[in-house]
């Protein structure tokens, strides 16, 4: 059974299309990265899942049933816009949000104590949030999303504004939640986290799905490039689309940036060179990152000019 199933969901704000025909699902124990630049439609999609705004078309199912407010007791949410009640203590805050997720007073107290201990905030539990540093307040906010041990954890730009220590803490909490069977859906535009954590990703650009699959599949989308150092022009080699000289070296050696045809592997090029005695001084295959894949997939929409439009 999928925890979250989104089918053909679209949302317009006036004449602006925020989300178009969105389809994906998240299973228990899976970490799903929801990627996109600013204004791609990530927050709108998450708000629709949480029934904060309603989709114009399409269906959203939670835990195998049409989405209803009552199911929200099983959802943990960390919003992009962070905030806490300044006059409440960390302990009270955690209990309050736990109670809103249908925990009993006693259960909420026990869980709150456990989270404060886990996050190293036991000594500050009775301090008002207004007296907290930004990092401490962020930990409390993360705690409010986790206190009821949700079956679906939704995190909107969870790493933005977090210091490196809290980023590590959050990464640990995300993997921990998934290992305990929770489905995790997080939006981000920081690709390193998505690459490290995600089992599957969806790249959104201007409200449209540009890619949906695993991280290796996304990396495969990028045109394969290699760098060769040889004495002959490699553009005539089989499976090569383009070869551009990058640098002239001594004794007739030159460095070339070579673009391979789709489906062509770098190993085949190397094999062809050795079998045909083509001299090679250098052969490099740079490992592409998800950042490169994202730029390749959503590049036109993620550019500043597109975002301004």
């Amino acid at each position: 059974m999928t925890v979250l199933d989104i089918r053909n969901v679209s949302k317009n704000f006036g004449t602006k299309q925020a989300v178009k025909d969105l389809n994906f699902s998240v299973s228990p124990g899976e970490i799903f990265g929801f990627l996109g630049g600013n204004g791609a439609g990530k927050t709108t999609s998450l708000r629709m899942i949480l029934d904060i705004i309603r989709p114009d078309t399409g269906t959203i199912a939670l835990f195998g049933e049409p989405a209803q407010k009552e199911q929200h007791a099983n959802i943990g949410f960390l919003p992009e816009e962070r905030g806490l009640y300044r006059n409440m203590t960390a302990f009270e805050t955690l209990i309050y949000f736990g109670r809103l997720k249908n925990l009993s007073q006693r259960e909420a107290r026990t869980r709150a104590q456990d989270i404060l201990k886990r996050f190293g905030l036991t000594a500050e539990s009775t301090k008002k949030v207004s007296d907290f540093s930004k990092g401490m307040a962020q930990k409390v906010q993360i705690g409010t999303a986790l206190i009821h041990q949700p079956k679906l954890l939704i995190l909107d730009e969870p790493f933005s504004g977090l210091d490196p220590i809290n980023q590590t803490l959050l990464e640990h909490e995300i993997t921990n939640a998934a290992q305990n069977g929770a489905a995790v859906l997080f939006s981000t535009h920081i690709m390193q986290h998505a690459e490290r954590l995600s089992d599957r990703i969806l790249i959104l650009a201007r409200g449209e799905t540009r890619f949906h699959g695993t991280v290796p599949e996304a990396l495969h989308q990028i045109s394969n490039t290699i760098t060769l150092t040889t004495r002959t022009d490699p553009s005539s080699l089989p499976g090569i689309i383009q070869a551009t000289p990058v640098m002239q070296e001594d004794d007739g050696w030159s460095q070339w940036a070579v673009t391979l045809a789709p489906g062509q592997s770098a190993e085949n090029v190397l094999l062809h060179c050795t079998q045909n005695a083509i001299p090679l001084k250098g052969f490099e295959q740079p490992k592409p990152s998800l950042h490169d894949a994202f730029i390749h997939i959503a590049g036109d929409a993620a550019s500043p000019s597109a975002q301004a439009a």
Binding site: L50, D51, I52, A73, F77, P79, G83, Y85, R86, T144
Partner: protein, 433 residues
């Protein structure tokens, strides 16, 4: 119908907001200070405004015939009044110069060394043939003026009648003839209208003051959640309706606590100190225990509080700072407080009932004015106006709910009344955000 879970969410939100209000110093200051204020005013003000300067009367009797009679009559009325011998300058002054000489006595800060408080009576030499008596008074005329006029008139009439040939005894008898008038005043010295309205008007005044404070607290809570970016986190657990109803319930809880404390304090003060101050508690308490008040007061209390809460919601959900919210709420509060305050005073005084009767139809004022006139307004008007308030709330609550839903996460909204108008129009047109 709200589910059990929904009721739980509403209660949790209400409880948190209520506890938040209880933690503020302003709440407890309001609870304590408002009942203390009239008590302090009642006990301290008379001492502050009490004038210890003795009242004097200077009699310049050029005729030499009525001074002793006047002195006797004035002392008989008020033995504390000092009869001061006229200064030599005044005795010697020509009648035409008296006005300029006496001006300093009645105009403070002039050449008279000590403050003068009282009357200067100048009787012409040819009195009673010349009846042109002049009186200078340093303050508003009191009972002494009546005594002076009556005494001089008596003297003139007796002289006139004896000059006409009547014996002095007959003249005194004729002059003293007065009808026997039986004077019947309302019980406790107040009119029936005043007695009926004084208790409910006190309730209306308390409701007015308490709703103003509660509206401010509700507004602060809303602005805190909006500016603190808390709403999205809340909305992941509960709905807009839960938040709105929870906050409304918290406002009502604060209002009930304030109102209950003030009523208890008011009744205690009335029963303990009322008789000492000449206020009879029984008729005031009786005016609060009529069926109309017992049924009507909770109704108009609830509708008045709901109306004010809706106004706070409409303003609070559009504002990012308390200052901005206060700026928008201030004109609404002024439009409420000033007319209602004046009309409540008129209600207690038992005047202007016609105008109040018409103004009671304006929904912003209906709960407060109707509360004050529960015992005197026609029953059909109270029932129809109660229905009118229900209709207003039935329109306003869903509309503000839509505005709330529309504006709750719209941080880019234009501030001020123009932005409010745009958002309201959008809320009317669009059911969902």
């Amino acid at each position: 119908m709200l589910s059990r879970t929904s009721l739980r969410y509403i209660w949790l939100i209400a409880l948190r907001d209520f506890q938040q209000t209880l933690r503020t110093k302003s709440f407890w200051l309001t609870v304590v200070f408002v009942p203390l204020f009239p008590l302090l005013m009642g006990s301290v003000m008379p001492h502050l405004i009490h004038d210890t300067t003795p009242e004097q009367t200077i009699i310049l009797d050029k005729s030499g015939t009525v001074a002793s009679t006047l002195e006797h009559a004035i002392h008989k009325d008020d033995p504390t009044v000092q009869i001061t011998p006229p200064p030599a300058a005044l005795t010697a002054a020509e009648p035409d110069h008296l006005a300029s000489l006496l001006k300093p006595y009645i105009s403070p800060g002039k050449s008279v060394q000590h403050p003068f408080k009282g009357y200067i009576v100048a009787i012409p030499a040819a009195f009673p043939q010349d009846s042109h008596v002049q009186i200078w008074i340093s303050h508003s005329p009191g009972s002494i003026l009546t005594i002076i006029k009556a005494t001089l008139a008596h003297d003139m009439r007796i002289k006139g009648m004896t000059d006409a040939g009547l014996s002095p005894e007959i003249a005194v008898q004729i002059n003293g003839a007065t009808p026997s008038i039986g004077l019947h005043l309302p019980e406790h010295g107040l009119s029936a209208d005043m007695l009926r309205n004084i208790g409910p008007t006190a309730l209306a005044l308390m409701l007015l003051i308490s709703t103003i404070f509660t509206t401010q607290w509700l507004l602060q809570a809303l602005v805190e959640e909006r500016s603190g970016k808390l709403l999205e986190a809340l909305l992941s657990s509960v709905s807009v309706d839960h938040i709105m109803l929870g906050k409304l319930l918290a406002a009502l809880m604060s209002l009930c606590l304030l109102f209950g404390t003030w009523i208890t304090a008011g009744i205690s003060l009335l029963t303990h100190f009322g008789p000492q101050l000449g206020v009879e508690p029984a008729p005031i308490l009786a005016s609060l225990l009529t069926p109309r008040v017992l049924i009507g007061a909770p109704f108009f209390f609830l509708t008045g509080a709901t109306l004010m809460a809706m106004i706070a919601f409409a303003v609070g959900v559009r504002c990012d700072t308390t200052r901005e919210a206060q700026g928008m709420l201030a004109p609404v509060l002024m439009a409420l407080i000033l007319p209602v305050e004046i009309l409540l005073q008129l209600t207690v005084a038992g005047v202007a009932t016609q105008s109040i009767s018409q103004l009671r139809w304006i929904p912003l004022w209906t709960p407060f004015l109707n509360l004050s006139q529960l015992n005197s307004a026609p029953l059909w008007e109270l029932i129809v106006q109660g229905g009118e308030m229900l209709v207003v709330c039935a329109i306003l609550v869903p509309l503000i709910n839509r505005l709330f839903r529309h504006s709750i996460l719209d941080y880019s909204a234009a501030p001020g009344w123009k932005g409010m108008k745009t958002a309201l129009l959008h809320a009317i047109k669009n059911r969902d955000a």
